[in-house]
């Protein structure tokens, strides 16, 4: 159970990205976050694992206050929250295997990992996760030798190495073509349905929201403007979320 309470974020330059956002995410839900670019979706997701420190408000995860956690506690919280990024955020010059193993960094002993030593089980697990997303044979390749879709699968495998209870996906398919987008979304859907992992996923395309999400919330200039079922987003709602000039595509 994730509980967001009155979350606000003002960046150093004075830009306010979030205004008093509150919502709950029950365990096992697939939640879509929609909104225009710059509406605060990324900031919201990053406030949940404190890659961005919120200015005000609380993030409660399994009744633990993430916003007040110490560095040590934060590490323990973060390792249970996987994250998938729009630009995959792989380390290009490292091998696929190393990129996937990086998902275990929160668990392994810091000192052994400094010399790139991981427990055998972790390496086996990494291979299993790569098999899962269909890139089992690529583990030796450098990450930047892979295509976009493959790179995002590495990203998912990395997140899955954390044995997450929650996956934050920040526009995971925005830099992929529609076919690949569906394939990536299906991986997330499977993880959500088969393993019961909560997924919070920001998305651009409404058809993806309709197809995969249990519930959707919408942000407009940092304010929560919609919270409900994806099918409830009708034309009026749509204009509210995306502005009067907007037109539906796809």
């Amino acid at each position: 159970m994730l509980r967001i309470q009155n979350l606000s974020k003002i960046y150093d330059g004075g830009v306010q990205a979030l205004y008093d956002v509150s919502f709950d995410v029950p365990k096992g839900q697939f939640l879509a976050v929609i909104g225009l670019s710059g509406s605060g979706k990324s900031t919201l997701l990053r406030c949940i694992n404190r890659l961005v420190d919120p200015t005000e408000g609380k993030v409660l995860w399994n009744d633990q206050d993430v916003t007040a956690a110490s560095q040590e506690e934060l590490r323990r919280i973060r390792r249970k929250i996987g994250m998938v990024f729009q630009h995959f955020n792989l380390v290009h010059r490292s091998s696929v295997l190393t990129n996937v193993l990086a998902g275990r960094l929160g668990y392994v002993s810091p000192i052994w990992s400094l010399i790139h030593r991981f427990p055998k089980e972790d390496i086996q697990k990494a291979h299993a996760q790569m098999e899962r997303v269909g890139i089992g044979d690529k583990f030796k390749n450098r990450a930047d030798e892979l295509s976009g879709g493959q790179q995002q699968r590495v990203g998912i495998a990395r997140a899955m190495m954390q044995e997450p209870e929650l996956i934050l996906a920040d526009e995971p398919v925005a830099s992929l073509d529609p076919v690949l987008a569906h394939s990536i979304m299906q991986h997330l859907e499977k993880i959500n349905q088969e393993l019961g992992v909560t997924v919070i996923c920001s998305l651009h395309f409404l058809d993806l929201v309709h197809r995969y999400a249990d519930r959707a919330i919408a942000l407009n200039e940092g304010r929560l403007v919609f919270d409900g079922l994806p099918k409830d987003i009708d034309d009026a709602r749509f204009k509210e979320i995306y502005g009067k000039e907007a037109e539906r595509v796809g």
Binding site: R78, M83, N89, V91, R93, S94, L105, P110, L114
Partner: protein
Amino acid sequence: MKNVNRSIKTALIALIVLVVYAYGFDVTQVNMETARQPRRQESFVRILRALAHPDIITYEQTEVVVNTPILIGCPAGGVDFPEPDKDAPYMVVTPPCADPNTEVTVEGFNFAANVNGPINFIPPSGVTIQLGNFQTDNSGYFSQIVELPNRQPTPETQYIRSITRTRVGGPQLSRNGEDTWDKIIETVFLALLATTFGTLFAVPVSFLAAKNIMKDVVSPLASVALSLIAWPVGIGAGWLAARWAHQISDQFGQTTLLLIAGVIISPLVAYFAMRIGLPPTDTIKPTTTQRLGRFGVLLIAAVAGLVAALLLSEVVSRFGEALENVSWLEFMGSFFVSISDMVSTFLGLVVALSVGGMLSGWAGRIGQWMTETMSISVLKTVNLFLAALAGAFVALVIAGIVEWLYQYQNPWIVFGIPAVVGALIGLLVAMRLPHKGSLPVGMAIYNFVRAIMNIMRSIEAFIWAIIFVVLVSTGPFAGTLALTLHTIASLGKLYSEQVESIMPGPLEAIKATGATRLQTIIYGVIPQIVPPYISFTMYRWDINVRMSTIIGFAGGGGIGFLLQQNINLLNYRAASTQMIAITIVVWAMDYISSVLRERFV
């Protein structure tokens, strides 16, 4: 109106530029008059010609010396010299006797064709006087009129001697050429070592000087104060521990058998202690007893590791000493001895610093924990106390350095007053700062490291060489140290800029997995900076080769030493050789580094 304003502005700027350059000419004493003086031009041309004839190659020569007798002052009975051997080169002097300061004709026969040489007068004392030069024609004949020197006539036979030198064999390096070769090799390796040492230090420094890494490092006041206090304490403890380890390893070093046993056992102990003390994963939070137990085991691992390093260096040193007896492996032997000497010298320092860092890290965590758990009123008091203590501590350390440098020998004033002032500053700072909030420690370190690097960089390697010559005496080692310092400063800056310009995405992703800061650097930063680091290191080697040609001017070894000597001796032909050697090496370095850069980057 606008146009007028603009014109005035332009005119003003032009005027300012004019004044600036006029002043520049005056200050730099631009003066074509001197260059037009014929005396200067002659010297200039002479030097240019000397430079155009570099002293690189010589030939082995054979000397043909021909003597023919002569008398100064004709005796009454005339002269009767024996006939010369007509098969060999010989000379005939006409007349065979003459008064001082009169001219005689010297003719040479059977000489080699087209050679030249001096014609000397050899009195009985043997002190040679050159009378003139000769040049043989195609048939090996010459005829030269020379004036006899002003000597008292004596009945003793004196000689006219001609010397011809002819080349035999192929060209070979001249003495100067050989010296240049030796020194240019020295220069290249000097630069290599300076670059290597410099890179080793510059890499960690570059992370401290990178804004994107340091700006996230924040800690509350209590934590900062405790860390500050823990640093010197940890350094002291580490120093003691290192000495203790030295003593243990000395025990092992007494017999070879013990030494070998120690070298095998101590790393094993260290490794297994680490395996026990560092669980591969920490899925469940360890209890306090577990933590303490692990800490104890890790302490054993650290001591064992230290002893292992010392013993290993001892073994390497003995191996080196054995090698030194083999003549052609002597340099390898002394390399091993030097390396182990360096290890045991610097190990103490490294251990002291790392224990200091570790203790300071723990103290910082305690401070963090205190800030998080204590009530605000208690925390306030604790903070005031800790800040005062830390202020006094820092002041004492600074006072210690000042005392060491200036030697006032007045402990109450030198240490007492700074301690009080430091404590007061600490109190003031603690009162002004928020008690729960975080201080930008990372940025403070960043600025400090940057400042130190800027100072180090602004002092030329040449000047560092002058300082190091005092410590390690003249020679290439002083140059190596000087260049190393300069390399650390400039590579540190270049590297840190590379760290600042890496892609932030992967870093964010690694952080999101719950990685520690160090893990984030190892997995997110380092893979990204390898290519630019290699490229900058190559470039730096190139720069260091060029700089090491100059470092010799300050006694720092390398080819500069030779170059300066020859310039001071006005031996421009020799200096020219060194200049050519430098040019070739720089050229080659440029080419090699560009090839390597293409391959690695």
